[in-house]
Protein backbone atom coordinates (compact mmCIF):
# COMPACT_ATOMS: atom_id res chain seq x y z
CA UNK A 1 0.00 0.00 0.00
CA UNK A 2 1.46 3.33 -1.06
CA UNK A 3 1.25 6.44 1.05
CA UNK A 4 0.51 9.99 -0.27
CA UNK A 5 4.13 11.04 -0.08
CA UNK A 6 5.07 7.85 -1.95
CA UNK A 7 2.78 8.91 -4.79
CA UNK A 8 4.42 12.34 -4.85
CA UNK A 9 7.82 10.70 -5.14
CA UNK A 10 6.62 8.52 -8.00
CA UNK A 11 5.21 11.54 -9.78
CA UNK A 12 8.45 13.45 -9.27
CA UNK A 13 10.42 10.54 -10.63
CA UNK A 14 8.34 10.51 -13.78
CA UNK A 15 8.67 14.25 -14.23
CA UNK A 16 12.45 14.12 -13.73
CA UNK A 17 12.83 12.08 -16.88
CA UNK A 18 11.05 14.15 -19.53
CA UNK A 19 10.59 12.28 -22.75
CA UNK A 20 11.46 8.95 -21.21
CA UNK A 21 8.72 6.49 -20.52
CA UNK A 22 9.75 4.05 -17.83
CA UNK A 23 8.40 0.55 -17.67
CA UNK A 24 6.25 -0.14 -14.62
CA UNK A 25 8.74 -2.77 -13.37
CA UNK A 26 11.61 -0.32 -13.67
CA UNK A 27 9.63 2.30 -11.89
CA UNK A 28 8.76 -0.16 -9.12
CA UNK A 29 12.43 -1.20 -8.76
CA UNK A 30 13.54 2.39 -8.62
CA UNK A 31 10.88 3.25 -6.13
CA UNK A 32 11.81 0.21 -4.04
CA UNK A 33 15.46 1.27 -4.05
CA UNK A 34 14.51 4.74 -2.90
CA UNK A 35 12.24 3.43 -0.23
CA UNK A 36 14.95 1.06 1.03
CA UNK A 37 17.40 3.94 1.21
CA UNK A 38 14.89 6.16 3.01
CA UNK A 39 13.46 3.58 5.41
CA UNK A 40 15.53 0.37 5.25
CA UNK A 41 13.84 -2.74 6.50
CA UNK A 42 15.27 -5.87 8.10
CA UNK A 43 17.71 -7.81 5.93
CA UNK A 44 18.07 -11.55 6.00
CA UNK A 45 21.32 -12.38 7.92
CA UNK A 46 22.52 -14.87 5.32
CA UNK A 47 21.89 -12.43 2.53
CA UNK A 48 23.76 -9.82 4.52
CA UNK A 49 26.76 -12.11 4.84
CA UNK A 50 26.68 -12.86 1.14
CA UNK A 51 26.59 -9.19 0.27
CA UNK A 52 29.47 -8.45 2.59
CA UNK A 53 31.49 -11.31 1.18
CA UNK A 54 31.08 -10.16 -2.36
CA UNK A 55 31.68 -6.52 -1.48
CA UNK A 56 34.96 -7.47 0.21
CA UNK A 57 36.17 -9.52 -2.71
CA UNK A 58 35.39 -12.90 -1.23
CA UNK A 59 37.47 -12.47 1.93
CA UNK A 60 34.56 -13.59 4.01
CA UNK A 61 33.23 -17.05 3.57
CA UNK A 62 29.83 -16.78 1.99
CA UNK A 63 27.25 -19.04 3.57
CA UNK A 64 25.26 -21.40 1.50
CA UNK A 65 22.28 -19.38 0.34
CA UNK A 66 19.55 -19.82 -2.08
CA UNK A 67 20.62 -17.75 -5.07
CA UNK A 68 16.99 -17.36 -5.99
CA UNK A 69 16.60 -15.08 -2.96
CA UNK A 70 19.38 -12.78 -4.15
CA UNK A 71 18.34 -9.86 -6.33
CA UNK A 72 19.22 -10.48 -9.94
CA UNK A 73 21.55 -7.50 -10.19
CA UNK A 74 23.67 -9.01 -7.39
CA UNK A 75 23.90 -12.46 -8.91
CA UNK A 76 27.16 -13.20 -10.69
CA UNK A 77 26.94 -14.52 -14.16
CA UNK A 78 29.42 -17.22 -15.08
CA UNK A 79 31.15 -16.70 -18.32
CA UNK A 80 31.65 -19.39 -20.90
CA UNK A 81 35.08 -20.45 -19.69
CA UNK A 82 33.81 -20.82 -16.14
CA UNK A 83 30.91 -22.92 -17.27
CA UNK A 84 33.25 -25.16 -19.24
CA UNK A 85 35.51 -25.65 -16.25
CA UNK A 86 32.52 -26.38 -14.03
CA UNK A 87 31.34 -28.98 -16.51
CA UNK A 88 34.81 -30.53 -16.64
CA UNK A 89 34.92 -30.66 -12.83
CA UNK A 90 31.54 -32.32 -12.67
CA UNK A 91 32.71 -34.94 -15.18
CA UNK A 92 35.91 -35.49 -13.23
CA UNK A 93 34.05 -35.93 -9.96
CA UNK A 94 31.80 -38.42 -11.66
CA UNK A 95 34.91 -40.52 -12.22
CA UNK A 96 35.70 -39.83 -15.81
CA UNK A 97 38.44 -37.23 -16.11
CA UNK A 98 39.15 -37.18 -19.78
CA UNK A 99 41.81 -34.52 -20.12
CA UNK A 100 44.96 -33.57 -18.17
CA UNK A 101 43.21 -30.38 -17.15
CA UNK A 102 40.27 -32.36 -15.81
CA UNK A 103 42.58 -34.65 -13.85
CA UNK A 104 44.38 -31.66 -12.32
CA UNK A 105 41.03 -30.16 -11.52
CA UNK A 106 39.93 -33.39 -9.85
CA UNK A 107 43.08 -33.45 -7.69
CA UNK A 108 42.49 -29.86 -6.68
CA UNK A 109 38.87 -30.59 -5.84
CA UNK A 110 39.86 -33.53 -3.66
CA UNK A 111 42.45 -31.46 -1.82
CA UNK A 112 39.88 -28.77 -1.16
CA UNK A 113 37.28 -31.27 -0.04
CA UNK A 114 39.72 -33.00 2.36
CA UNK A 115 40.80 -29.64 3.74
CA UNK A 116 37.24 -28.56 4.32
CA UNK A 117 35.83 -31.80 5.62
CA UNK A 118 38.53 -34.45 6.14
CA UNK A 119 37.25 -38.03 6.24
CA UNK A 120 38.38 -40.30 9.11
CA UNK A 121 41.91 -41.58 8.54
CA UNK A 122 42.31 -45.32 8.22
CA UNK A 123 44.77 -46.56 10.84
CA UNK A 124 47.04 -48.33 8.41
CA UNK A 125 47.20 -45.23 6.24
CA UNK A 126 48.05 -43.23 9.35
CA UNK A 127 50.94 -45.56 10.15
CA UNK A 128 52.16 -45.39 6.60
CA UNK A 129 52.13 -41.62 6.68
CA UNK A 130 53.95 -41.54 10.03
CA UNK A 131 56.53 -44.01 8.80
CA UNK A 132 57.10 -41.96 5.73
CA UNK A 133 57.47 -38.82 7.78
CA UNK A 134 59.69 -40.26 10.55
CA UNK A 135 61.47 -43.19 9.02
CA UNK A 136 62.93 -41.81 5.89
CA UNK A 137 65.59 -39.71 7.48
CA UNK A 138 69.14 -39.67 6.43
CA UNK A 139 71.74 -41.74 8.24
CA UNK A 140 73.59 -38.61 9.33
CA UNK A 141 70.41 -37.24 10.86
CA UNK A 142 69.77 -40.47 12.78
CA UNK A 143 73.29 -40.47 14.20
CA UNK A 144 73.02 -36.81 15.12
CA UNK A 145 69.71 -37.41 16.86
CA UNK A 146 71.13 -40.28 18.90
CA UNK A 147 74.25 -38.43 19.98
CA UNK A 148 72.37 -35.26 20.86
CA UNK A 149 69.80 -37.28 22.81
CA UNK A 150 72.47 -39.07 24.80
CA UNK A 151 74.30 -35.85 25.55
CA UNK A 152 71.08 -34.16 26.61
CA UNK A 153 70.24 -37.02 28.98
CA UNK A 154 73.71 -36.95 30.49
CA UNK A 155 73.61 -33.17 30.85
CA UNK A 156 70.20 -33.38 32.51
CA UNK A 157 71.50 -35.95 34.98
CA UNK A 158 74.56 -33.84 35.77
CA UNK A 159 72.42 -30.77 36.27
CA UNK A 160 69.98 -32.64 38.46
CA UNK A 161 72.66 -34.02 40.73
CA UNK A 162 74.81 -30.96 40.91
CA UNK A 163 72.02 -29.24 42.82
CA UNK A 164 72.90 -29.40 46.49
CA UNK A 165 69.83 -30.60 48.41
CA UNK A 166 70.99 -28.61 51.39
CA UNK A 167 70.84 -25.46 49.30
CA UNK A 168 67.56 -26.42 47.68
CA UNK A 169 65.81 -26.75 51.02
CA UNK A 170 67.12 -24.46 53.72
CA UNK A 171 66.84 -27.10 56.38
CA UNK A 172 67.94 -24.72 59.09
CA UNK A 173 64.63 -22.91 58.58
CA UNK A 174 62.56 -26.05 58.89
CA UNK A 175 61.29 -27.63 62.08
CA UNK A 176 63.19 -30.91 62.41
CA UNK A 177 61.79 -34.28 63.35
CA UNK A 178 62.66 -34.93 66.97
CA UNK A 179 61.69 -36.77 70.11
CA UNK A 180 58.22 -36.12 71.43
CA UNK A 181 59.36 -35.99 75.04
CA UNK A 182 59.05 -32.21 75.10
CA UNK A 183 55.31 -32.77 74.94
CA UNK A 184 55.24 -34.67 78.22
CA UNK A 185 56.15 -33.81 81.77
CA UNK A 186 59.50 -35.49 82.43
CA UNK A 187 58.71 -35.76 86.12
CA UNK A 188 55.50 -37.67 85.47
CA UNK A 189 55.89 -41.08 83.85
CA UNK A 190 53.16 -42.50 81.65
CA UNK A 191 50.40 -44.28 83.53
CA UNK A 192 50.88 -47.99 83.77
CA UNK A 193 47.95 -48.67 81.46
CA UNK A 194 45.85 -46.48 79.23
CA UNK A 195 46.11 -42.95 77.85
CA UNK A 196 47.94 -44.15 74.74
CA UNK A 197 45.32 -42.46 72.59
CA UNK A 198 45.66 -39.12 74.34
CA UNK A 199 49.42 -39.33 73.89
CA UNK A 200 49.20 -39.91 70.15
CA UNK A 201 46.60 -37.16 69.93
CA UNK A 202 49.06 -34.75 71.50
CA UNK A 203 51.94 -35.90 69.29
CA UNK A 204 49.99 -35.70 66.05
CA UNK A 205 48.60 -32.29 66.96
CA UNK A 206 52.05 -30.89 67.69
CA UNK A 207 53.55 -32.26 64.49
CA UNK A 208 50.65 -30.93 62.45
CA UNK A 209 51.63 -27.49 63.66
CA UNK A 210 55.27 -28.17 62.78
CA UNK A 211 54.31 -29.34 59.32
CA UNK A 212 52.34 -26.16 58.73
CA UNK A 213 55.33 -24.06 59.75
CA UNK A 214 57.59 -26.00 57.41
CA UNK A 215 55.23 -25.54 54.51
CA UNK A 216 55.08 -21.81 55.07
CA UNK A 217 58.89 -21.73 55.34
CA UNK A 218 59.23 -23.67 52.10
CA UNK A 219 56.85 -21.28 50.36
CA UNK A 220 58.75 -18.31 51.76
CA UNK A 221 55.81 -17.16 53.90
CA UNK A 222 56.57 -15.82 57.35
Amino acid sequence: MSKPHDDDALRGLRESEPGTELEPAELAAGFEALRAAYAPGEIDPELHEALLSRALGGELEAPAIDERGVPEELQSSADRAERERAEALRAALDGAPSTPEARALLALARVLRYAHEPPPLVEIHHEALLGAALGRRSKLRRITTGVVGALAAAAAAVGLLSVDPQREAPRADLVPARSTLELFDPAEPFPRSGEETSRIDRIAGARASDLRKNRYATWGVR
Partner: protein
Protein backbone atom coordinates in the same frame (compact mmCIF):
# COMPACT_ATOMS: atom_id res chain seq x y z
CA UNK B 1 70.01 -49.08 15.46
CA UNK B 2 66.30 -48.63 16.00
CA UNK B 3 64.82 -45.50 17.54
CA UNK B 4 63.86 -47.27 20.78
CA UNK B 5 67.42 -48.58 21.17
CA UNK B 6 68.79 -45.09 20.77
CA UNK B 7 66.43 -43.89 23.48
CA UNK B 8 67.56 -46.67 25.81
CA UNK B 9 71.18 -45.83 25.09
CA UNK B 10 70.54 -42.22 26.05
CA UNK B 11 68.89 -43.32 29.28
CA UNK B 12 71.76 -45.64 30.17
CA UNK B 13 74.29 -42.87 29.58
CA UNK B 14 72.24 -40.58 31.76
CA UNK B 15 72.12 -43.16 34.52
CA UNK B 16 75.89 -43.62 34.30
CA UNK B 17 76.38 -39.88 34.65
CA UNK B 18 74.03 -39.96 37.61
CA UNK B 19 76.02 -42.66 39.35
CA UNK B 20 79.27 -40.81 38.77
CA UNK B 21 77.90 -37.67 40.32
CA UNK B 22 76.73 -39.53 43.39
CA UNK B 23 80.18 -40.92 43.99
CA UNK B 24 81.78 -37.53 43.62
CA UNK B 25 79.35 -35.60 45.71
CA UNK B 26 76.82 -36.34 48.40
CA UNK B 27 77.49 -39.00 50.99
CA UNK B 28 75.61 -42.27 50.83
CA UNK B 29 72.40 -42.63 52.73
CA UNK B 30 71.41 -38.98 52.58
CA UNK B 31 71.42 -36.60 55.51
CA UNK B 32 71.36 -38.05 58.98
CA UNK B 33 67.95 -38.57 60.51
CA UNK B 34 68.51 -35.68 62.90
CA UNK B 35 68.50 -33.40 59.85
CA UNK B 36 65.15 -34.63 58.65
CA UNK B 37 62.39 -32.07 58.78
CA UNK B 38 58.81 -32.69 59.78
CA UNK B 39 57.16 -33.50 56.48
CA UNK B 40 53.96 -34.86 55.04
CA UNK B 41 55.01 -38.51 55.22
CA UNK B 42 55.79 -38.22 58.92
CA UNK B 43 52.53 -36.48 59.64
CA UNK B 44 50.61 -39.05 57.60
CA UNK B 45 52.08 -41.82 59.72
CA UNK B 46 51.16 -40.00 62.93
CA UNK B 47 47.65 -39.42 61.63
CA UNK B 48 47.34 -43.10 60.84
CA UNK B 49 48.59 -43.94 64.32
CA UNK B 50 46.01 -41.66 65.89
CA UNK B 51 43.24 -43.31 63.88
CA UNK B 52 44.43 -46.79 64.83
CA UNK B 53 44.43 -45.98 68.54
CA UNK B 54 40.99 -44.38 68.39
CA UNK B 55 39.66 -47.41 66.52
CA UNK B 56 41.13 -49.62 69.22
CA UNK B 57 39.36 -47.51 71.86
CA UNK B 58 36.04 -47.91 70.08
CA UNK B 59 36.52 -51.67 69.84
CA UNK B 60 37.37 -51.93 73.52
CA UNK B 61 34.27 -49.94 74.42
CA UNK B 62 32.19 -52.80 73.08
CA UNK B 63 34.48 -55.41 74.60
CA UNK B 64 36.07 -56.52 71.34
CA UNK B 65 39.72 -56.90 72.33
CA UNK B 66 40.62 -58.89 69.23
CA UNK B 67 39.43 -56.09 66.97
CA UNK B 68 41.41 -53.58 69.01
CA UNK B 69 44.54 -55.66 68.58
CA UNK B 70 43.88 -55.97 64.84
CA UNK B 71 43.60 -52.19 64.48
CA UNK B 72 46.88 -51.64 66.30
CA UNK B 73 48.63 -54.34 64.30
CA UNK B 74 47.81 -52.41 61.14
CA UNK B 75 50.04 -49.73 62.55
CA UNK B 76 52.81 -51.87 64.00
CA UNK B 77 53.21 -54.07 60.92
CA UNK B 78 52.26 -51.56 58.22
CA UNK B 79 54.42 -49.26 56.14
CA UNK B 80 56.23 -46.47 57.89
CA UNK B 81 58.24 -43.46 56.74
CA UNK B 82 61.98 -43.11 57.16
CA UNK B 83 62.90 -43.46 60.79
CA UNK B 84 62.54 -40.42 62.95
CA UNK B 85 62.30 -40.18 66.74
CA UNK B 86 58.54 -39.64 66.50
CA UNK B 87 58.00 -42.76 64.43
CA UNK B 88 60.08 -44.90 66.76
CA UNK B 89 58.40 -43.57 69.89
CA UNK B 90 54.86 -43.95 68.58
CA UNK B 91 55.58 -47.48 67.42
CA UNK B 92 57.16 -48.34 70.76
CA UNK B 93 54.06 -47.04 72.55
CA UNK B 94 51.86 -49.08 70.22
CA UNK B 95 53.83 -52.24 70.98
CA UNK B 96 53.39 -51.50 74.68
CA UNK B 97 49.63 -51.23 74.24
CA UNK B 98 49.55 -54.43 72.20
CA UNK B 99 51.45 -56.19 74.97
CA UNK B 100 48.95 -54.93 77.53
CA UNK B 101 45.98 -56.11 75.45
CA UNK B 102 47.49 -59.51 74.65
CA UNK B 103 48.33 -60.17 78.27
CA UNK B 104 44.74 -59.31 79.25
CA UNK B 105 43.72 -62.20 77.02
CA UNK B 106 46.27 -64.55 78.54
CA UNK B 107 48.70 -64.32 75.60
CA UNK B 108 51.71 -63.71 77.83
CA UNK B 109 54.42 -64.90 75.43
CA UNK B 110 52.98 -62.85 72.59
CA UNK B 111 52.87 -59.91 74.96
CA UNK B 112 56.53 -60.38 75.85
CA UNK B 113 57.35 -60.44 72.12
CA UNK B 114 55.64 -57.07 71.71
CA UNK B 115 57.70 -55.70 74.60
CA UNK B 116 60.93 -56.87 73.00
CA UNK B 117 59.97 -55.28 69.67
CA UNK B 118 59.18 -52.04 71.41
CA UNK B 119 62.47 -52.01 73.32
CA UNK B 120 64.36 -52.39 70.05
CA UNK B 121 62.73 -49.18 68.85
CA UNK B 122 63.01 -47.18 72.09
CA UNK B 123 66.66 -47.76 72.89
CA UNK B 124 67.34 -44.46 74.60
CA UNK B 125 66.15 -43.65 78.12
CA UNK B 126 62.78 -42.07 77.51
CA UNK B 127 59.32 -42.33 78.99
CA UNK B 128 58.50 -44.69 76.14
CA UNK B 129 61.26 -47.10 77.07
CA UNK B 130 60.37 -46.84 80.74
CA UNK B 131 56.73 -47.48 79.89
CA UNK B 132 57.67 -50.64 78.02
CA UNK B 133 59.43 -52.00 81.13
CA UNK B 134 56.42 -51.03 83.19
CA UNK B 135 54.08 -52.92 80.87
CA UNK B 136 56.45 -55.89 80.99
CA UNK B 137 56.02 -55.85 84.76
CA UNK B 138 52.25 -55.72 84.27
CA UNK B 139 52.36 -58.66 81.87
CA UNK B 140 54.41 -60.73 84.30
CA UNK B 141 52.06 -59.85 87.13
CA UNK B 142 49.16 -61.20 85.12
CA UNK B 143 51.15 -64.28 84.19
CA UNK B 144 51.96 -64.81 87.85
CA UNK B 145 48.30 -64.57 88.76
CA UNK B 146 47.35 -66.96 85.99
CA UNK B 147 49.96 -69.53 86.99
CA UNK B 148 49.04 -69.22 90.63
CA UNK B 149 45.40 -69.94 89.80
CA UNK B 150 46.55 -72.93 87.79
CA UNK B 151 48.50 -74.23 90.76
CA UNK B 152 51.90 -73.62 89.18
CA UNK B 153 53.60 -72.13 92.23
CA UNK B 154 57.14 -72.27 90.81
CA UNK B 155 56.07 -70.67 87.54
CA UNK B 156 54.17 -68.01 89.41
CA UNK B 157 57.27 -67.25 91.46
CA UNK B 158 59.39 -66.90 88.32
CA UNK B 159 56.82 -64.53 86.85
CA UNK B 160 56.78 -62.54 90.08
CA UNK B 161 60.54 -62.11 89.98
CA UNK B 162 60.40 -61.01 86.32
CA UNK B 163 57.73 -58.49 87.22
CA UNK B 164 59.85 -57.07 90.01
CA UNK B 165 62.87 -56.78 87.70
CA UNK B 166 60.78 -55.05 85.06
CA UNK B 167 59.34 -52.50 87.46
CA UNK B 168 62.79 -51.76 88.83
CA UNK B 169 64.08 -51.25 85.28
CA UNK B 170 61.19 -48.91 84.60
CA UNK B 171 62.05 -46.86 87.68
CA UNK B 172 65.67 -46.62 86.59
CA UNK B 173 64.75 -45.39 83.14
CA UNK B 174 62.32 -42.84 84.52
CA UNK B 175 64.98 -41.59 86.91
CA UNK B 176 67.32 -41.11 83.95
CA UNK B 177 64.67 -39.17 82.12
CA UNK B 178 64.12 -36.90 85.09
CA UNK B 179 67.84 -36.36 85.58
CA UNK B 180 68.24 -35.51 81.90
CA UNK B 181 65.39 -33.03 82.11
CA UNK B 182 67.01 -31.38 85.10
CA UNK B 183 70.32 -31.15 83.25
CA UNK B 184 72.22 -33.49 85.54
CA UNK B 185 73.01 -35.85 82.70
CA UNK B 186 72.56 -34.13 79.35
CA UNK B 187 73.96 -37.10 77.49
CA UNK B 188 71.01 -39.21 78.54
CA UNK B 189 68.47 -36.94 76.91
CA UNK B 190 67.05 -38.22 73.61
Amino acid sequence: MSRSRRVWLALVLGAMALGGCRDAGAPEGGPPSAERAVDASLFSFLSKARSAHHLADLSLEVGDRAAAIAHLEQLSTGPRPASSPEVLEVLADTHARLADLRSQGGQFDAAELEIQRGLLLAERPTHFRGHLFEVRGLVEERRMQSLREAGDTAGAERARKLALDAFEAAIEVQDEVIRAALGADPGAAP
